[in-house]
Symmetry: C2
Subunit: 273 residues, 2 copies
DNA sequence: ATGTCTTTGTGAACGCGTGCACAAAGATGG
DNA sequence: CCATCTTTGTGCACGCGTTCACAAAGACAT
């Protein structure tokens, strides 16, 4: 999963647990597929399999929405599609703006999954004057100067940030000041926002790093049990206290030291992102 | 957050909780920034603020890695960067393949955050013969036919799927058969994989839907407390049992029925994604 | 109408993650 | 060497999320 939330941690949303809310789109997608195949009803078991969860969880999730099933039969597909759509707020139109029309921003603008769920790309915004007027995904890019006007004119409340990390916080501040209350952030930065503004984060490199962790673990344990071989045991944590200028106690940190290498013999590679 | 894991749910990874693992990249990023500014040490409080978490959580997370801090002083930045990098497996080189070079795939290929963390884009793969040979981000796209060969020749263990939903499972199966054991999936589908293969999912439209849910809630509660006004109360769940052909008890499902509309008077808008 | 069979809805137990609060460790100054 | 002050590391309690397991509800056949 590619998410981290900066939500109001405590406030339970109208009794529907956050974890359940996060799964509703999953159920909705599975139900929509069934609906297209004109399947009238599904059991919790079938639907759970299609959504990739276990059936007890699914039933409990649905129980927060109400008693929409029929015992002995299952759930009416069309009815449930509607109920979940309504609960998620997809029965209304959500204009969104995308800020930062680079490779990623352009890809997002072209992404079909947005428009198909009631999300309408109201505007594309970029700081580069050379981009202004140029159409991306059929929508002309507008300059950052117009940001506030665009948001208020279109009544936009959801913003997508796809700028470089350095510009993200500044863009975020302007979005919030202009009235945006929900932000989907693709820039690799921690955004700080006032209370009442929701931020969700999608970080591509973090996902890969998590995979790498597990991958390393797999590789390590298949090479027999006590794989403490290639530099797995850290040097004893001797008093660090500013170990910078080649101090004797300095552990093999990357860059300065030679020795320490991965099994493949490559440099540690740590850089901004 | 944009993630859902299809991990082995029970198996705790060498004592490091999954939630902690997911935060390590966050800490690493903050630490790297400090390192670039040549800051020698940080307190848990400072680092926690930079990473957007609370300091107790950060200290507990680090305690799973070992006792790398110095009481009264804080953490040595360089040392910690190295330790976290090593724990995440970033001290070695991870070749990855990206399958599906559409808008999103191309954006991923160009994304700097990959290369900068030890992830090397070993190959770009697409099913379209017209794409073959065309360079994207300086790397020539190769045809799907080469998939197995590319993976085995380069010893790739991490694959990124950026294909349309329809092709994802098939691509996934081929990747797994070829030896891939970690998959980052951008296609809006549930992938089924054998045990031992990790899948992480990044779903752009799901993130927006979650935001929409909270957004709707905000809008609803600011319009005074008992906002049960515009169609919030569902019709009583009368026995559905295949209520399809205009049966009398059929609730206001979208498409068939008229009535039932959002406050904005728009159609429910539910489609594939 | 009655019985059987299927499937939902949920009470209860369990486990993980979070946050508090404090004791221990060590640095720093006298 | 001792006192003070800062900051880590962690024991503990709490709450959320997951899963089990089963009673209740209803469909369906007879």
């Amino acid at each position: 999963m590619a998410t981290g939330r900066t939500h109001r941690p405590a406030t339970r949303s109208r009794g529907i647990p956050e974890a359940t809310v996060a799964r509703l789109p999953l159920y909705l997608r599975a139900l929509t597929a069934l609906s297209e195949r004109s399947v009238p009803t599904v059991s919790s078991e079938e639907l759970a399999t299609a959504a990739g969860v276990n059936s007890a969880k699914l039933r409990k999730d649905f129980s927060y929405l109400g008693s929409y099933g029929t015992r002995g039969v299952g759930y009416d597909v069309e009815y449930l599609v509607y109920q979940i759509s309504r609960e998620l707020g997809l029965t209304q139109d959500w204009p969104v703006v995308i800020v930062g029309i680079g490779n990623l921003g352009a890809a997002l603008a072209n992404y079909g999954g947005f428009a198909s769920r009631g999300f309408r790309v109201a505007a594309l915004i970029d700081a580069d004057p050379a981009m202004a007027g140029k159409p991306v995904a059929g929508i002309p890019v507008q300059h950052t100067d117009e940001l506030e006007k665009i948001i208020t004119d279109n009544g936009v409340s959801i913003g997508v940030i796809a700028t470089p990390a350095g510009a993200a916080q500044q863009v975020c501040d302007r979005l919030v000041a202009a009235g945006i209350t929900s932000i989907l952030n693709f820039a690799p930065t921690v955004l700080s926002v006032p209370d009442g503004v929701d931020v969700r984060k999608v970080d591509l490199s973090i996902e890969l790093q998590i995979l790498a962790f597990h991958e390393q673990r797999k590789a390590g344990e298949e090479a027999s049990a006590p794989e403490e071989a290639a530099g797995a045991v850290p040097p004893p944590p001797v008093a660090p206290h500013r170990a910078r200028p080649g101090a004797p106690g300095a552990p093999g940190a990357p860059g300065a030291d030679s020795g320490r290498q991965g099994p493949d013999g490559d440099v540690p590679a740590v850089m901004p992102a």
